[in-house]
């Protein structure tokens, strides 16, 4: 019984961490932009998924990302249920490429790759909610991606001891 519990312990712990991060993210202040429905904010769950991707097998994290995304959908955006799970699954899959090629790619390319993934992730997310996808919206999304990248770099330096970069 104990062994069985031990097998699922990591999953349960990570799930609780994600719930805490989700609550923290909900109450974390966002930057209001000139575009309606476009708030620039940190995505802590996404950053946590990057961490998990580098510590566990990718296909397991893809499953995990799906359920976390679904949970986030139910909690935050019930009208677009499936959106977060879709985006998170895609994000984790491509982070797998970064993990596989971590020793081959240069630091600049890794920055670029993660920024690109964040930009695509945020663009697809905001595309659903904003009325018109204009140049300013793209700029704000790019800034949001940069902010998240900086946070990933900081967390990687301070907590993960440069495991990602």
């Amino acid at each position: 019984m104990y062994l069985l519990f031990n097998n699922y312990k990591k999953i349960i712990i990570n799930f609780f961490i994600v719930i805490l991060l989700l609550i923290f993210q909900m109450y974390f202040p966002s930057i209001v932009t000139s575009e309606d429905f476009l708030l620039i904010k940190f995505d802590f769950i996404l950053i946590y998924l990057v961490y998990l991707s580098f510590n566990y097998r990718i296909y397991l994290i893809i499953c995990f990302a799906f359920f976390i995304g679904l949970f986030q959908d139910l909690l935050v955006q019930p009208s677009t249920i499936g959106l977060f799970s879709f985006l998170k699954v895609l994000f984790v899959y491509f982070i797998g490429y970064l993990k596989d090629s971590n020793n081959i790619w240069s630091l600049q390319f890794k920055y670029f790759f993660i920024t690109f993934l964040l930009f695509i992730h945020n663009s697809l997310y905001h595309y659903i909610f904003i009325n018109e996808f204009n140049f300013y919206a793209l700029i704000y999304i790019f800034l949001e991606s940069l902010m998240n990248l900086i946070l990933i770099i900081l967390i990687d330096r301070l907590i993960f001891t440069k495991k990602v970069f």
Binding site: I58, T80, G82, L90
Partner: protein, 258 residues
């Protein structure tokens, strides 16, 4: 590479597709305005992507339609010309019917020209024969005047010697005094009259009729009209040039007088 290894390498991809499928299934089963907006945009995107294919298909469709329409136009043109011919034929037949009704004394049998025959004598072949009670030496006319006479009769067709044939001659009456003369063809639509006395007064355009002297031709069939006449001091008779009334070159339908 073993089957198990292949599966292991693709495990990530398989997991991705499974969860993407479920994510999209969940997303599109929702009917919120955001999902509907995405659906609209996807439809627009699909339409945009498939536009070249549609454009190409349209071109092919237009090309095939164009070929078909060209074919239809040709067919309709042919049909139109056929109908126009029918209309002309109808008008001619109506005129012939009227002509027949204006000559109640004559028993007219309509016939159609089948063929021209200019080998030995100027003649035509018509599509009536013994089966239609046609005999040799029966006069043939069109709506304008005398055309000729039957010279050979088959079961279903007859040969008609034309008035323009060199060997053709007919007794006619001419002038106010109805003097007798002999009509003989010269060339084309023209002919001359023999035996017209100098004393006879003639007018240009005057119609010449059959005299009725012959056993073949009944009297008063229009034959020709006077074109010119001259009086030669050395001759007793006038030189009268006439033009045949029947439209020999445009023959299509004729009547056989029975």
């Amino acid at each position: 590479m073993s089957y198990t290894n292949t599966f292991f390498l693709n495990k990530r991809l398989i997991t991705l597709f499974i969860f993407l499928f479920f994510s999209l299934l969940l997303f599109f089963t929702n009917k919120s305005k955001f999902v509907q907006k995405v659906e609209k945009d996807i439809i627009d995107l699909v339409a945009f992507i498939s536009y070249p294919k549609l454009w190409y298909e349209n071109i092919l469709y237009v090309k095939s339609s164009n070929d078909l329409l060209s074919q239809n136009v040709t067919q309709l043109k042919l049909l139109n010309s056929k109908l126009t011919n029918y209309q002309i034929e109808n008008i001619k037949l109506r005129e012939m019917l009227d002509f027949k009704e204006t000559h109640p004394m004559l028993s007219l049998l309509p016939a159609n020209k089948v063929n021209d025959n200019f080998t030995s004598i100027y003649s035509i072949i018509i599509n009536v024969g013994i089966n239609d009670a046609i005999n040799k030496n029966q006069p043939v006319i069109d709506m304008n005047g005398l055309v000729g006479k039957t010279i050979k009769v088959g079961d279903n067709a007859s040969k008609v010697q034309l008035i323009t044939d060199k060997n053709f001659a007919i007794s006619v009456k001419v002038g106010n005094e109805m003097s007798l003369a002999i009509f003989k063809p010269t060339f084309g639509r023209y002919g001359y009259l023999e035996g017209v006395l100098k004393t006879l007064v003639l007018n240009e355009g005057e119609i010449i009729y059959t005299s009725g002297v012959s056993e073949i031709y009944p009297s008063d069939l229009p034959v020709a009209k006077v074109v010119s006449f001259t009086k030669d001091p050395d001759k007793l008779t006038q030189n009268v040039i006439v033009e045949i009334l029947a439209k020999i070159n445009e023959l299509n339908y004729v009547f056989v007088i029975q």
